[in-house]
């Protein structure tokens, strides 16, 4: 609780007047001899020392008052004021720094969230691109496979037709041979072929 020293001087005269009055009163009493008479053996009540005590009390107390009001108390007041202002300034600075730190933390959070969003987008795109690529590859492979299958089927069908043609020729040969063996008379090739065709169509 710092106290300003400007008001101190104003009551200095008060103090001076008060102490002077007190000193005069005491000195007057001390100067009147025989007030306490012979019974003044108890030292604190002995008026013989009143004047000396008052005189030196006035001097020492005045010096003390002067030292306190002019030197010690204003100095202590300013020290404490300075301390209060220093603490206040430091607190302000700390609050400012804290605000800055919070701002930075927020910016960091924001950047982090953005980066996360970006990463998600990139991952999504990559995933989609990958899916598209693999789809295309699958389609191509499937088409290729289908083409190969069709080719194979065509080959099989041709082979089968060829084989069937061979079977017919062989059948007509065998039929001619059997007929000639049985009848001793060889049928004509066209007759045999017609018979085989008939049998094939039936079977």
């Amino acid at each position: 609780m710092p106290v300003r020293s400007s008001g101190f001087a104003r009551q200095g005269w008060l103090l001076a007047v008060g102490s002077f009055a007190t000193l005069l009163a005491g000195a007057a009493q001390a100067a009147t001899p025989g007030l306490s008479g012979e019974k003044a053996s108890f030292p604190p009540f002995d008026p013989a020392h009143f004047a000396s005590n008052l005189f030196w009390l006035a001097i020492t107390f005045a010096v003390l008052y002067w030292l306190m009001s002019k030197v010690a108390l204003p100095r202590l007041g300013s020290i404490m004021e300075e301390r209060a202002s220093t603490i206040g300034r430091d607190l302000d600075q700390a609050a400012q720094l804290q605000g800055k730190a919070e701002e930075m933390a927020q910016a960091y959070e924001k950047a982090l969230a953005e980066a996360r969003k970006n990463a998600q987008g990139i991952a999504q795109t990559a995933r989609e691109a990958g899916a598209k690529a693999s789809d295309a590859q699958r389609h191509a492979t499937e088409a290729e496979l289908a083409a190969k299958m069709a080719q194979a089927e065509a080959t099989i069908a041709k082979t089968k037709t060829d084989a069937m043609g061979n079977v017919r020729d062989l059948g007509s040969d065998i039929a001619a041979a059997i007929v000639s063996k049985l009848t001793g008379q060889a049928p004509s090739a066209s007759e045999a072929a017609a018979a085989v065709d008939q049998a094939l169509a039936r079977g």
Partner: protein
Amino acid sequence: MAAGGGIDPIHQFHIAPIVELKLFGLDLSFTNSTLWMVVVLAVVSAIMVYGSSQRSVVPGRLQSLAEMAYEFVASTMTGVMGKDGLKFFPFVFSLFMFVLASNLLGLLPGSFTVTSQIIVTAALALLVISIVVIYGVVKHGTHFFGLFVPSGVPGWLLPFMVLIEAVSFLSRPVSLSLRLFGNMLAGHIALKVFGGFVVALTTGAAAGLFTYAIAPLPLLLAVALTALEVLVAVLQAYVFAILTCVYLNDALHPGH
């Protein structure tokens, strides 16, 4: 403790001149009482002036002590008188430190208690009351004497109330000075009496086995009394300061 006094409990209050000095027909000798006033001044100045000379924001021990005294008196004053009472701060502070240092230094063996002289406490009390009256009259004029006229009192009772208020006001310097003086005087006499018992029981004419056996009892009492006297020394300084604040408050705010 009392040089050559043996067990005379009054000897400690004797004033002996160290340097004779006569001025204007008055005996203004530099006495042992004066010496201890100077010691009090030196001790208080050492704490307050030297202690604050470092002006450090983080105080050392002595500066902490000085700041504690400063804040203690300042908070006591604002508590009693409010903020505007702080214009009397140096006065009340000097008074408090002077009385406190006198009381505490007086407890040192072989020292002299300045506040055990009634003329000293009376002078300090009169100084307080003079300041109250002078400041009150200068600041508030006749309004200051409204202090003696309590409000809300029926007319027929007013003269009695004014009389009572006036007597109570006039008795303030008496009670203020006698309280401090009496406490210091009685405490030191009691201490010296118990100390004297120990001396009498061990070295007196009737000293024997029995007296040796019971000699520790007054010694223990003297130790306990010393502790009590330290408390009384601080408490009386505080009481003196706070009553000064109460009286100054009347000068500042005379309205009831």
